[in-house]
Symmetry: C2
Subunit: 218 residues, 2 copies
């Protein structure tokens, strides 16, 4: 029995590192690069998952201060683990999008919103000079039958956005609701903006750029 | 028999589009974005595969004119199909790396070098004002046992580099030999620069940056 508890304690202590080991090789590569690059006080950071990684944000926005801190497949936990490299230089602004991969990992809306607002709270606490913009999740489109783990999760995404908007409002954080511009009448990601139901084609990035440009320039 | 030949002719005519359909969704997403972004005459284009996509080149080089035109998994054929979007604006410079995925597709060194120099010839012909830099393939490290299709292909990479260097010399093209700076004594990708035997960690990008910086700035 004593041995059981000892094993349990060791397992619990090892849990964070076990989680970290499950991260992708790409996570290790990008996190290592981001750690080397750091940030500075003029940087405008686009922080998130594959949707961020896939966008050439500095070019889209015509602003050389914009830097890409996206990693395919990243989650709130993954972003939390590399947040120091982003906050180290006290960047001017952070545009955060996070949650789609947490949804695919079967987390519930409230848990996801809590995890994302946890990132926001850490950013606010550790880099108070940084202006933070929290962006909503985008709709998905399961008619592509491409991402099995997102099947039937449309409402989780909507509920996460609702919860996150409320948590942002309570903190006076700027909330950027991307969702309506990307959704069709049924609440699915518009088929003219994607080829897999999750990621964006060029015109999707054009819409996103128009939405965030005023905040980047303000 | 006549029907067989007709079928064969139809199949051959459809071959390029069949090949195109095998491209990844990511290829479609990035190619669509690149087509929308285009280029202009001040751009310095980093063109290639995942090694390019994974690098924040404008930041690494401290040069806002540097743009990323990398797509994970891309080949000479894939780059050829999206080259118009790169050449359209007659960019100032192009840094090209291509071949690792062609190697993984079991092509021989001479075929790969011929395909890559075909890209170079097209760039030279269609955008004569663009200064082109052809970069070598990097070594790989199969001790990671990660990329089955690269197993035993170390010599194909070296032979491709030899052939490509010779083709560049014959054309008076600038050849940037990255290989020696990334290889250990056995000709494998240094284990301090990678976590999967193919892609680079931050310090790998730092070495690459030092090598190309003089050419970017010249």
């Amino acid at each position: 029995m004593r041995k059981f508890f000892l094993t349990l304690v060791v397992a619990l202590l090892a849990w964070p590192s076990l989680m970290a080991e499950q991260r992708s090789e790409l996570y290790g590569q990008r996190a290592s690069l981001f750690d080397m690059l750091g940030t500075d006080s003029t940087d405008i950071v686009f922080l998130g998952n594959s949707l961020i990684h896939g966008g050439n944000w500095a070019e889209l926005l015509g602003n050389p201060n914009v830097v890409n801190r996206g990693i395919n497949g990243d989650t709130a936990d993954g972003i939390n683990d590399r947040l120091e490299s982003v906050l180290r230089g006290r960047p001017a602004k952070i545009f955060l999008i996070c949650g789609a991969n947490d949804v695919s990992h079967d987390l519930e809306a409230d848990s996801i919103a809590t995890a994302v607002i946890g990132l926001a709270d850490r950013i606010t606490a550790e880099s108070p000079s940084t202006k933070l913009y929290v962006m909503s999740l985008l709709p998905i489109n399961n008619s592509f039958n491409r991402y099995r783990r997102l099947a039937g999760k449309e409402q989780v995404i909507r509920d996460t956005n609702t919860a996150l908007e409320s948590l942002c409002a309570a903190r006076g954080l700027t909330w950027i609701n991307l969702y309506p511009s990307f959704a069709d009448a049924d609440g699915n990601l518009r088929t003219d903006l994607t080829n897999d139901g999750l990621h964006l084609l060029g015109p999707g990035y054009a819409i996103w750029t128009e939405i965030v440009k005023p905040y980047v320039e303000e």
